[in-house]
Symmetry: C2
Subunit: 199 residues, 2 copies
């Protein structure tokens, strides 16, 4: 999952970056929905923020708290599917692949550096969330959320970088009738096939 | 799953309808992302259109093609989770529950009537899609998409109504710091509990 050499830019990536560019006036265009599977076999789905691609790879960067349900889910089943809808261009990207958790214990030096870089780019408010009481637990008293502003260099222990490594991408353009739909599949040699399919 | 009596309106429903109302100028506010589980245990996720609540229930109506991958997934694992993000009010609803497929063979008269009503509300263009070549297959020649305008009364055989019956709803308001998050859970007597939790 973690490339040991630089991989070439996947052919769906310029299309995704084009959609992001055309929606740059909408902050929510960086939000996608990430599906995972719960330990009981039911799906889970939530909005996450795209934090750019991991350098030298086609992996999407997301940040999360290691106390969140999604982390427990990913530790049992590391597959995820992101769904991203762009309203102005009426395009949808579905990105299926394995997820890698880069937590405080991760011993990969390059990934630990990426985790620190992602931390440094957060706002103070977003960083403070990692010092708050555990997500999903009964609401704590207001004072528990009154935490000192975290250091911008050293990530708090609960902060994780989450990487989605797509190996199947379904790109749908709703404009036009019939709509246009392509399926990209990563091959063993890390090149990509692309097939035009019925919408 | 199919209520034999009218159920009372769930407490999260006015909140969802409020968000929809405040986003009524954005057509895409009726789009949510629906996660299911693939037969190989990996998650799937795609954008679907909310078609209102099934009368006398808290079930969300969606329409789909019985040749789509999602139908094959749902026939093996009927759990789904919808994720709905509202950008203007910065609210997220996650809705987890069982899915019911109302296809051409469904023998429930009331559901078959709801299926026909959903069909009647579609545009001609949306109806035509159910006469097109199978979704996801290699792209057919253009002539295969040149189908006669379907009848507005009798649904085409591939047309399905899909119902999501939430039993767990996670409502997050991102405005404010800390954010506000409630979990609604359906009880055995069909009433709902609500818990304020840490974001």
């Amino acid at each position: 999952m973690i490339p040991s050499v630089e991989v070439s830019i996947a052919p769906w990536r310029p299309l995704l970056l084009g959609a992001l560019h055309r929606h740059r006036s909408l902050p929510q265009s960086r939000y996608l929905q990430l599906a995972t599977v719960r330990p009981d076999g039911r799906p889970a789905n939530r909005t996450v923020v795209f934090r750019g691609f991991l350098e030298g790879s086609n992996q999407l960067q997301i940040v999360t708290d290691d106390r969140s349900d999604k982390l427990a889910q990913i530790r049992e089943n590391d597959w995820g599917e992101g769904c991203w809808y762009f309203p102005k261009t009426r395009e949808q990207f579905r990105l299926s692949g394995q997820l890698t958790v880069v937590d405080a214990q991760c011993e990969n030096i390059a990934l630990q550096r990426s985790r620190r870089e992602a931390w440094a780019k957060l706002s103070d408010g977003a960083r403070s969330g990692f010092a708050w009481p555990p997500p999903g637990q009964p609401r704590a008293e207001a004072v528990a959320f009154d935490v000192p502003v975290p250091d911008a260099i050293e990530p708090l222990p609960h902060f994780c970088l989450l990487l989605l490594d797509p190996e199947w991408v379904d790109f749908l353009q709703l404009r036009g009738e019939p709509q246009t739909r392509w399926i990209y599949r990563r091959q063993r040699d890390l090149t990509w096939s692309v097939d035009l399919v019925n919408p």
